[in-house]
């Protein structure tokens, strides 16, 4: 639009320069007269002028002026058209636009007498309030231009003055180029003779003619067979015959061939797509019968295409059980043309020719051919995917089972190992007490050492047993008040705390869902350790506190406040340890000190780790030697299920 405005402005200024002295703004029609030869430019000037003035009034005045004048013959049609079109766009008034269309139609005539006359009539029609007529004409003009047939208007003597777009294409005429003065240029010699000698007289006599013609392409000389119909157009006002409308409909052999070719191309394209598809594509028609079965379908299902065409999917592609419901839905779908299946991926069980079933993913689309629905299935054999999934599940189950067995083994082994050990200890005891008189000091020392070793072995076994019990004897998760449990643990340790002149400070702690006994054991081990690994020069101070921490990553990933974690911290001012041992200390029987320095089996932290893990959490430690240690346990606030 702005381009147009710019164009109009530049034109206007040009016009002004040329005519300002003589015409002034208000009298453009005079300028038009003066322009004479260059009527197109005159019309452009008018358009430019109208663009900024009262369009209707100016147009009317211009039309009146024009109707009294006969612009010179030989006026460029294209320029007239361009000018009028410009004019119409610029005026932007309904009535004038209608006027414009008539003008366009009629001014396309080189017979400008007719054009001027028509323009006058059109103007009068608007003046007398008959816009419908011009509306109809406008519509007809549009239809003619959009038609795929050859539509030509000619004088009653057979001189063409309008040719639509399709017509121009058929005879190889550029959009803007001028029409020939004779129909001969667009037809084969034979056709032209026939039109001249037979058709034109017939039209003038009877009002219409129908027959076959051959159009000739002006550039290539190619001939196209057409069905032709020519009608006589009478002036509604005078009843006089005015012009002829010539309609050629491409037909005959060429048309069929062209259509067939286009169809074949489209088919070939479709076929290529279907055949190169990696997944089976199966189409059924409105009766539910398979009409398309691509190569991938052949190889996946194991049927040659021609044995499957004409059958129903439920007969060959899917086992009856799996397809019974599916078929009903397909039927309903084909009937109603809609349903829940469209576009959705569904998992189905499909069956191969050999009877082997396999899991498949299926999507469906619906389209219409000759008004009847066709349904296309895109099927994907997800057997491999499924197998991989199953394999993974089996592996996970196997791992779980093996873990479980290992725990069971640890439990049973440690349980059963205790029996003979108990005997060794008991009878060693008996030897030391009842028969000590019979032993010399060396013998007594040997027995004593054996006893110590046996006792130690028993604590190791008991440690293993406790470790395995974390999972084998775990209890259900219930709300656990960490503060209360910590207070109980401290109360249990009270005597010991006093002995070492220590202090345990309990901070704020929330409630979480957990196994209460295990939480107690966890706190007992951690607080016990904190007291045990104290520095000689300083009474132990242990601080225990816990709070919820929003794990932001977790929350973003899983989007649930249920993934909030409780961070439980046990800090001490004890001997600490080197950072490199931070992971090792959670291993079974891992110790950083001699038994003489700090007694213990090295199972306590392993149990803590296992408890944390069973709760879906984790435990970590950090420390610097001599600077105390901080143990941090992360426990989910809410659990779905205990692990193990």
């Amino acid at each position: 639009m702005s381009d147009l405005v710019d164009l109009l402005r530049s034109q206007e200024s040009r016009i002004r320069e040329e005519f300002s002295e003589r015409t002034g703004r208000a009298d453009v029609a005079d300028a038009a007269q003066t322009m004479g030869e260059d009527c197109g430019a005159m019309l452009e000037a008018v358009a430019a002028y109208l663009a900024q003035d009262d369009g209707q009034e100016a147009a009317a005045r211009w039309a009146r002026q024009l109707s009294g004048q006969a612009p010179k013959a030989g006026l460029s049609q294209g320029r007239v058209l361009a000018g009028l079109s410009c004019f119409a766009q610029a005026v932007r008034h309904q009535a004038v636009v209608q006027l414009d269309h008539q003008v366009v139609l009629l001014a396309a005539l080189d017979d400008l007498d007719e054009a001027v006359d028509a323009l006058r009539r059109a103007y009068l029609a608007i003046d007398s309030g008959e816009p419908e007529i011009s509306l109809q004409r406008q519509a007809l003009a549009l239809v003619a231009d959009e038609s795929s047939d050859f539509v030509c208007l000619a004088t009653r003597h057979g001189k063409p003055f309008y040719l639509n777009r399709a017509g121009r294409e058929l005879v190889g005429l550029e959009e803007k180029s001028e029409l020939s003065s004779t129909l001969h240029d667009y037809h084969s010699d034979a056709s032209w003779e026939r039109l001249r000698d037979e058709a034109v007289p017939a039209v003038n006599r009877r009002g219409r003619w129908e027959g076959e013609c051959q159009l000739r392409h002006r550039k290539t000389g190619a001939l196209v067979d057409v069905q032709t119909r020519i009608l006589l157009v009478r002036d509604p006002a005078t009843g006089k015959s005015g012009s002829m409308a010539i309609v050629h409909r491409p037909g005959g052999k060429q048309r069929e061939e062209a259509l067939a070719e286009a169809l074949a191309e489209s088919e070939a394209r479709k076929h290529a797509i279907l055949e190169s598809a990696l997944d089976p594509i199966v189409t059924i028609d409105h009766e539910g019968v398979i009409t398309e079965f691509n190569r991938a379908a052949e190889s996946v299902f194991g049927y040659p295409r021609n044995t499957v065409l004409g059958t129903r999917p439920s007969e060959v592609l899917f086992p009856p059980a799996s397809m019974a419901g599916q078929q009903i839905r397909i039927d309903r779908y084909l009937e109603a043309g809609e349903g829940s299946m469209l576009g959705k991926r569904t998992e189905v069980t499909a069956v191969r020719a050999g009877g082997e079933t396999f899991p498949a993913e299926m999507a469906m689309t619906l389209n219409y051919e000759h008004g009847k629905p066709l349904m296309t299935f895109f099927i994907r054999d997800i057997g491999d995917h499924k197998r991989a999934e199953e394999e993974q599940a089996r592996y996970a189950a196997e791992l779980e089972r093996s873990n479980h067995e290992l725990e069971q083994f640890a439990y049973v082994a440690s349980h059963d190992l205790q029996e003979p050990l108990r005997k060794i200890r008991t009878f060693g005891d008996r030897l030391a007490s009842s028969c000590s008189a019979a032993l010399d000091p060396t013998g007594r020392e040997c027995v004593e050492r054996m006893q110590t070793a046996a006792e130690r072995m028993q604590s190791l076994i008991q440690g293993l047993l406790s470790l395995s019990r974390v999972t084998t004897k775990g209890q259900d998760f219930v709300p656990v008040d960490l503060a209360a449990v910590a207070a109980e643990v401290v109360s249990d340790l009270e005597v010991h705390i006093q002995q070492v002149q220590g202090r345990v400070e309990l901070g704020r702690m929330p409630s979480i869902m957990a196994d209460p006994l295990q939480i107690r054991q966890l706190l007992q081990n951690l607080i016990g350790n904190a007291l045990k690994f104290r520095r000689e020069d300083e009474p132990p101070v242990v601080r225990v506190h816990a709070r919820f921490v929003g794990d932001r990553d977790n929350r973003q990933a899983r989007g649930s406040p249920a993934d909030e974690q409780c961070r439980l911290v046990v800090e001490d001012n004890g001997v600490g340890f080197e950072e490199k041992y931070a992971e090792r200390i959670f291993g079974v029987f891992q110790r950083l000190h001699t038994r003489e320095a700090y007694p213990g089996t090295g199972i306590g932290l392993a149990i803590c780790k296992k408890i944390a893990e069973r709760h879906g959490g984790s435990i970590a430690a950090c420390s610097t030697p001599g600077q105390g240690a901080v143990f941090t346990v992360l426990l989910p606030a809410v659990h779905r299920k205990p692990k193990g």
């Binding site: 029996e419 108990r422 005997k423 200890r425 008991t426 005891d429 008996r430 007490s433 028993q458 004897k473």
Partner: protein
């Protein structure tokens, strides 16, 4: 209390000979007049009580005043045997002390639920055995009153 120390009959059901030996030893060490009878499993325990098979002669199978019952035994374990003898009105009132290596909570609660009078884990030292047997004797045969 009887003027003369009465010899109490203790029936110990345990497949572990050594534990039986230890109990016998400890009884002797505590100078307790005793009649300790042992059976190796639950089947024989019930045979004994029912005086079946080799326990037919009632002189060889006096009614026990106290039963020491191990839980893990072949053929019929202590749990089954406990259930059966507590279900039988003839033996229901004989106190049963479970004496086992198991310290499992399940076993403990099962035993008490099934009518055991006490549950003791087998000690790991000789000294503890001696003390245990002394304590058992003192409790069941000196402090507690048993049905005659």
């Amino acid at each position: 209390m009887d003027a003369l120390p009465r010899s109490f009959t203790i029936l110990m059901a345990d497949d572990d000979d050594e534990d039986c030996l230890l109990v016998r030893d400890a009884l002797a060490l505590n100078v307790i007049p005793h009649d300790l009878r042992t059976v190796p499993d639950g089947v024989e325990l019930l045979d004994y009580l029912d005086r079946r098979g080799k326990y037919e002669d009632r002189r060889q199978s006096p009614r026990p005043d106290l039963i020491l019952l191990d839980l893990n035994m072949p053929r019929k374990d202590g749990r089954e045997a406990l259930g059966e003898l507590k279900a039988d009105r003839r033996w229901r009132q004989i106190p049963v002390v479970v004496l086992t290596t198991s310290t499992s909570d399940d076993d403990i609660s099962f035993s008490y639920r099934s009518g055991a009078s006490s549950y003791i884990a087998k000690p790991s030292t000789y000294q503890a055995w001696v003390e245990l047997v002394g304590t058992l004797h003192k409790y069941w045969f000196e402090l507690a009153r048993l049905p005659t």
